[in-house]
Symmetry: none
Subunit: 225 residues, 4 copies
C-alpha cells in the first residue's frame, strides 16, 4: 500500500538526508580546513613561516602531508588565508559596531578594542608576527591594500577627532602609527597564559593614548635632538 507514496516520501526523505549529509560534510570540510589554518597559524607564529614545514602542520594534526593539500593549495596559500581571515574577522567585527554619532575618541577606542581582540587571536597574532614578505608579490599587494584600509579608517577617525575636539594631537598620521605600533607590538610578548587578558592589555594601551589625546599640553618643550 502506498508504495508509490512511500517512495515519494522516501525520496523526499532521502533528499533531505542527502542534503543534510551534504551539509554535514561541507561543515566537516570547513571545520577541518579551519583547523588546518589555526594549527598552521600557531606553528607559523612559533617557528616562522620558513622554518615551519607542511610536515610540521601535518604532524600536529596527525595526518599526512597530502591531506593538507586536499584542503589548501600551497603553503603560501595557508598564510594568505590566515591573514585574509584575520582581516575579514576584523571587518566583520567592526561592521557590527559602527555608531558614527559617537565622538571620535569613543569611536577610536571601540575600534582599538575590536582590533586588539582580533590581533590577539591565533590568526591575528600570525598576521602581526609573520612577515608578509613570505607571500607572493600578488598576495602581498592584496594584503597590504586591506591593511592600509584599516589604517586609513583609523586616520580618518583621528582626523574627525581633531575636528570635533575629542582628540587633540599635532600629527594625526604619527598618532595613528604610534597607536598601531603599540597594539601590533603586543603579539610579540603576549602569551595566552599570561596574567593579562587581551582586553586588559588593550585597555592599558588605550589609557595611554587617551591621555595623550586629551586636553592639557606637555609641560616642558621637547629638548632638541
Amino acid at each position: 500500500m502506498g508504495g508509490a507514496r512511500r517512495t515519494a516520501t522516501e525520496t523526499a526523505g532521502d533528499k533531505a538526508v542527502l542534503w543534510r549529509s551534504a551539509d554535514l560534510r561541507q561543515e566537516q570540510h570547513d571545520k577541518k580546513r579551519r583547523l588546518i589554518l589555526v594549527t598552521a597559524a600557531r606553528i607559523f607564529t612559533d617557528l616562522g613561516f620558513h622554518k615551519a614545514t607542511i610536515d610540521h602542520i601535518a604532524a600536529a594534526l596527525k595526518v599526512t602531508k597530502p591531506t593538507i593539500y586536499y584542503y589548501i593549495d600551497s603553503k603560501e596559500d595557508i598564510l594568505f588565508q590566515i591573514t585574509s581571515q584575520a582581516l575579514a574577522d576584523l571587518d566583520q567585527a567592526l561592521s557590527e559596531d559602527n555608531d558614527t554619532t559617537l565622538p571620535a575618541i569613543e569611536r577610536l577606542e571601540r575600534f582599538c578594542r575590536i582590533y586588539g581582540r582580533i590581533i590577539l587571536t591565533d590568526f591575528g597574532i600570525c598576521l602581526a608576527v609573520v612577515s608578509d614578505r613570505s607571500l607572493s608579490p600578488d598576495s602581498r599587494k592584496k594584503l597590504r591594500l586591506l591593511k592600509k584600509e584599516f589604517e586609513t579608517r583609523v586616520r580618518r577617525i583621528v582626523d574627525d577627532g581633531r575636528k570635533d575636539g575629542s582628540i587633540l594631537v599635532d600629527d594625526a598620521r604619527m598618532f595613528s602609527f604610534a597607536l598601531f605600533g603599540a597594539i601590533n607590538w603586543a603579539p610579540q610578548w603576549y602569551s595566552g597564559s599570561g596574567p593579562l587578558s587581551a582586553d586588559e592589555i588593550i585597555s592599558s594601551i588605550l589609557a595611554i593614548f587617551r591621555k595623550a589625546a586629551a586636553a592639557g599640553g606637555v609641560p616642558r618643550p621637547l629638548a632638541g635632538a
Copy 2:
C-alpha cells in the same frame, strides 16, 4: 754576496711593510666584513631572511659566494652579527649619554632619541624587521637577553619617573611596551627617502608619550569592554 745584508736590511723594511700591510689588511678585512653586513642587512630587510640567499648578497657585492664565507661563518651568523652590532651600537651610544641626575622623563626622552636613531639605521631596521626566529635557539637566546636588558633599562627609568613625579602612568610595564611598540613599528613604514627624518619621527612619537606621561587625567572614564 750581499745576500745576507740585503736580507737583513730589507727584512726590517719588509717587516714594517708587512706590519703596515697587515694593518691595512686587517682594516680592509674589517671594512669588507662590515660592507657584507650592511649589504646583507638591506637585503634581509627587503626580502626577508629566508628569501634572501647568499647569492643575492654576493651578487650585490659583485663577489662570489665563497668570498662571503671567507668573512663570515654562516648565513645565520650574518644575521646574528647584524643584530648584535645594532645592539652594540645602541649600547655604545647610550653609554655616551648617561647623566643620571636628570629627571626620569628627560632620561627617557634621551634614551628614546638614541634608540630611535639606531633603530632607523640599516642594522637597526634589520633588527626590528627580521624575525629572530631565523636564528638558532642559542643565538636567539643571547639576542633576546640583550634586548631584554634595554627593555629593563627603560622600565627602570619609567619606575624612577613614577617616583620623582616626572612620569605619571598607571602601569610602567605597559607604558614601556607601548613605547617600544610605537618606536619599533616605525621601521615598518619608514623609508629613508620619505619627507620625515628619523629624528622627526622620534620627536613625534615622544610628544605623544610625553603627554601621556604628563599630569592631567583622562576626562572621561574608559568605557567597559
Copy 3:
C-alpha cells in the same frame, strides 16, 4: 501475509527485470567504459600521457576519480586498452576485407585505406601519437608485437607485389617503413575540423606511393651523399 505469493509471482517478473536490468547494466557498463577510453584518448593526445591526470579525465566526464577506477584498473591500463582497442578495431576492419586474389598493389591500397581510417580515429590518433614508453615493459612488449604483425602483413603484401609485378620497388622493408611513416605522421597535424577528410588524406598519400611503386625508373641517378 501474502508475502510469499507476492514474492513468488513477482520473483519471475523480478528475474526478468533483473536479467534485463543485468543486460542493461552490462551494456551501460560497457558504454561507460568505452566513454572513459574515448575521453582519455583525447586527453592523452592533447596533453600527453603524463601531463594528463586521472582527474582530468574524471572532470571531463563529470564523475569522481574512484568512479573511473570502477571501470579500469590503472592509468596505464587505460592507455593499454585504448591502443589494444585501436589495433583490435584495425584487425576487425581488415578481416572484413581480405580478398587475397587481388593484385598486391590493390591489397596494399585497401590495407592502407583501412589503416588510415582507423589511425585517424580517437583511439588511432592516441595510438600513433602517445609514446608506448608510457606503458609497462610487459604491456609495451605485447603492443609492439601486435604492431609488428601489421608491419609484417604490409611487408608481405609488398613482397607479393614484387613477385606479381604490381609493386616495383628496390627495398620492400624501406618501402613499408616509408609508407607507415607517411601515414603515421598524419595524426600529428590532422585535425578533424580541417578541410581534408581522413579518406582524402590517405588518398593523397597513396597516390604518392602508388606512383613510387609503378613502372618507370628515376630519370637521374641519385647524387652522392
Copy 4:
C-alpha cells in the same frame, strides 16, 4: 734588478695564463653542458621525458643531482635546449649547402640528406621521438615555429619543383607531409648498431620519393574509398 720588469712580464704572462685558463674553463663548462644534453637526449629517447628523472641523468654522468642544475635551469630546459640545438645544427648544416641554381628536385634531395643526417643524431632522434607536449606552452610555441620554418622551406622547394618541372606531384603540401613523415619515422626504428647507416636509410627513402616525383603517371586510377 729587473724586478719591475720581471713583474711586468710576469703580469703579462699571468694574464695570458689567466686568459687561457679562463678559456679552458669556459671550454670545459661548455663541454660538460653539452655532455649533459647528449646524455639526457639518449635517456629521454629511451625512457620518455617523464619516466626519465634528473637522477637518471646524474647517475649516467656519475655526478649528483644538483650538479646538473649547475649547468641547466630545469628539466624542461634540458629538452628545450636539446631540440633547439638539433634545429640549430640543422640550420647550420643547411646554410652551408644552399645552391639555389640547382633544379628543385636536387635541392630537395640535398635538403633531405642533411635533414636525415641530423634527425638520426642523438639530438635529432630526441627531437623526433620525444613529444613537445612536455615543454611549456611558451617553449613549445617557439619550437613549433622553428619546425614550421623547415616545413615551409620544403614546401617551397616542392613548389619550385612543380614550376621548373623537376617535381611532378599533385599536392605539394601532402607530398611534403608524406616526405617528412617517412623521414621522421626512421628514428622510431633506427638503431645506430643496425646494418643500415643513416645515409643509406635516407637514400632509400629518397629513391621512393624521387620516383614519385618523376614523370610517368599512375597506371590505374585510384579506387573510390
